[in-house]
Each structure stands twice: as structure tokens, then as C-alpha cells.
């Protein structure tokens, strides 16, 4: 696990000790940065950077779809329902970046839950369903895995990006860190 995740956990621990509730952190911090740091500037992206925007957009759908399905398998576990709403906002943010930079996303069907035309994303989703179906604990561990994966990918994707894109990816990463905390808390309860 990388240093960023560890330092973030230390930060959250300190906030909790100081009396800020986890629920408050979960509901506000992921998007507060966007409002405060939003810049009206945009720049020209390289083709490679546009490719990254497109892939991250497709990948964000993977998390949302997984939580939608696992939420139906385990309706008494509210973590999935809660985080799937947040993941929809992640998709919205990633989509907005694509639109802003002229990346054509018309071939991605956001409404087709659990269906991915790219084989590696379908394989990920299918595996998450197989594992998550075993037990609630396994399903929560799937959530934990997804969030760690997203954090790593967003960190990598943000490198070298202009500030507006990097800011959005950092906000999404903060959201994923919050999701990770929520899944870890749920795992400890399960």
C-alpha cells in the first residue's frame, strides 16, 4: 500500500479523534475540492492524455455497476447503496472532462449495467460478481479491492495532466479514499 493511502488514513484518524464524524467526511470532502479549486482554464491535451480521459471514464463505470449489483445481492448492507451514488458522481466528473476536451464517448452506454464491451473490464466485473456472491464479507472485500485499484489508477492518470484534469482526478481519488475507509469499516463489522 502506498504512502498516500497511509497518510490519508492518518489524516482521517486525526479528524475522527478531533470530533469530525466519518459520515461528514464521507459526504462532503470528495467534492468540496472541486468547488474550491475549480479553474476555468483549460489547455490542449496530447492524444495520449485524451486516451487516458477516455479509459478512466470507462473504468469509473466498473465500480458503480459492481456496487449496484452487489447492493441487490446484499440489500441490508447500506455501504453499497451509499457508495454507488457517489460512484455515479465520479462517472459524471469523468464524463465532463471528456466532453470538455472533445473526447467522443458516444459509444459507451452508461445505462447498460454490468455490460462492458472492452473484454478486460468485463473480466473484472465478472470476477467481482463471482467473488462477491460468496458472502457479504467477500463482497465487501471486492469493494475494498476496487477502491485500492481506482486510487492507484487515478494517481497514475493525474501525472503530467494539466491542473484542471489533475484536480478532478485528485478529487475522485479523495472520494475513493473515503470509500475505502467505508468498506474497511464495514468489513470490521461483518
Amino acid at each position: 500500500m502506498n504512502k498516500t493511502i497511509k497518510s490519508r488514513r492518518n489524516f482521517i484518524s486525526k479528524m475522527l479523534v478531533a470530533g469530525v464524524s466519518g459520515a461528514t467526511l464521507l459526504s462532503t470532502s470528495a467534492y468540496a475540492g472541486g468547488r474550491n479549486n475549480a479553474k476555468a482554464t483549460s489547455t490542449v491535451l496530447t492524444e495520449e492524455q485524451k486516451d487516458t480521459l477516455f479509459y478512466i471514464y470507462q473504468e469509473e463505470k466498473l465500480a458503480r455497476d459492481t456496487y449496484i449489483k452487489l447492493g441487490k445481492v446484499y440489500p441490508d448492507e447500506s455501504t453499497f447503496a451509499y457508495i454507488q451514488l457517489s460512484e455515479q458522481r465520479h462517472i459524471d466528473s469523468a464524463r465532463e472532462l471528456c466532453v470538455k476536451y472533445g473526447v467522443d464517448i458516444s459509444q459507451v452506454d452508461e445505462d447498460a449495467v454490468g455490460e462492458f464491451e472492452l473484454p478486460i473490464l468485463q473480466e473484472h466485473y465478472d470476477t467481482f460478481m463471482i467473488e462477491g456472491d460468496h458472502s457479504l464479507l467477500d463482497a465487501l472485500k471486492v469493494g475494498e479491492h476496487i477502491e485500492v485499484m481506482d486510487i492507484d489508477d487515478l494517481e497514475t492518470a493525474a501525472v503530467g495532466m494539466p491542473s484542471d484534469v489533475a484536480n478532478v482526478y485528485n478529487e475522485l481519488k479523495e472520494g475513493s479514499l473515503n470509500h475505502l475507509e467505508a468498506f474497511e469499516a464495514a468489513i470490521s463489522r461483518a
Binding site: D51, Y55, L118, I120, L121, E123, T127, I130
Partner: protein
């Protein structure tokens, strides 16, 4: 030079026969590591040691070789031979193509970019470029 539409069949045959050396030859390096991560996920959930190895494949050649060995056996054990039918080819510029096809009647696509050593599967090449 193999064309993207011809690579699709070779890719599926190689992947599900555990021939990862061929799979590697059909892809960009980044896409190959993404393939290992994706198709290695099932083993990763079942085997903590494999998961640790998988996390190190990009910087550790020994870990890469072990992951390829174990994943090769796993892919073969799936005994999956999908029916692949090419639907259409989209040119996304001089050096990119998207192949739309069905895998057991489910719509799928793979992106390709033209590299120095031929057409390669490239998961990042899904956009049209001028």
C-alpha cells in the same frame, strides 16, 4: 503483417489456451500488464501469494514469470472457447482501428494501434484521432 481483424481470433485462442507469450506479442506492453491484472484477478482473490506477485510484475521479472506460469494454467483450466464473430471495423485514423465483434453473441470491441512492429491491441486506443 497481421491485420486487427485477424488478431482477434489469435488473441482468443492464445488467451484461453494459456499461451501468454503469444498474447504478449499481440499487445502493447501496457495493455499486456492490464491483461495480466484483469485475468489474474480471480486467482488473486483466491491466493494471497499470487496477489502479491501480481502487484510486482512490472518491476520484478521473476514475479512476472511466475504469474505468467500460474495464470497460463488457470486460463487453460477455464476450458472456454468462445464463438467470435467480427461485426465491423472502424478506422479511427491512420494508425488506429476498433474491431467490433461478438463473443458468444455479446457485443465486444478491441482497440488497436499501429506500432513500429505492427498492429497491437491497445486498450487506450479507443478514440478517433486525426
Amino acid at each position: 503483417m497481421l491485420q486487427p481483424k485477424d488478431i482477434i481470433g489469435v488473441y482468443y485462442d492464445a488467451l484461453y489456451s494459456g499461451d501468454l507469450e503469444t498474447v504478449k506479442s499481440l499487445m502493447t506492453e501496457v495493455s499486456y500488464f492490464m491483461t495480466l491484472e484483469s485475468f489474474g484477478l480471480r486467482l488473486s482473490f483466491r491466493d494471497a501469494a499470487f496477489k502479491t506477485l501480481l502487484e510486482k510484475v512490472q518491476e520484478d521479472g521473476v514475479a512476472l514469470k511466475k504469474v505468467e506460469e500460474l495464470l497460463s494454467k488457470d486460463m487453460l483450466s477455464r476450458e472456454y472457447t468462445p464463438n467470435i464473430e467480427i461485426q465491423n471495423i472502424e478506422d479511427n485514423g491512420d494508425k488506429r482501428q476498433t474491431i467490433n465483434y461478438t463473443e458468444d453473441e455479446k457485443p465486444k470491441k478491441l482497440y488497436f494501434s499501429k506500432e513500429e512492429n505492427g498492429w497491437k491491441i491497445n486498450y487506450y486506443a479507443g478514440r478517433k484521432v486525426a
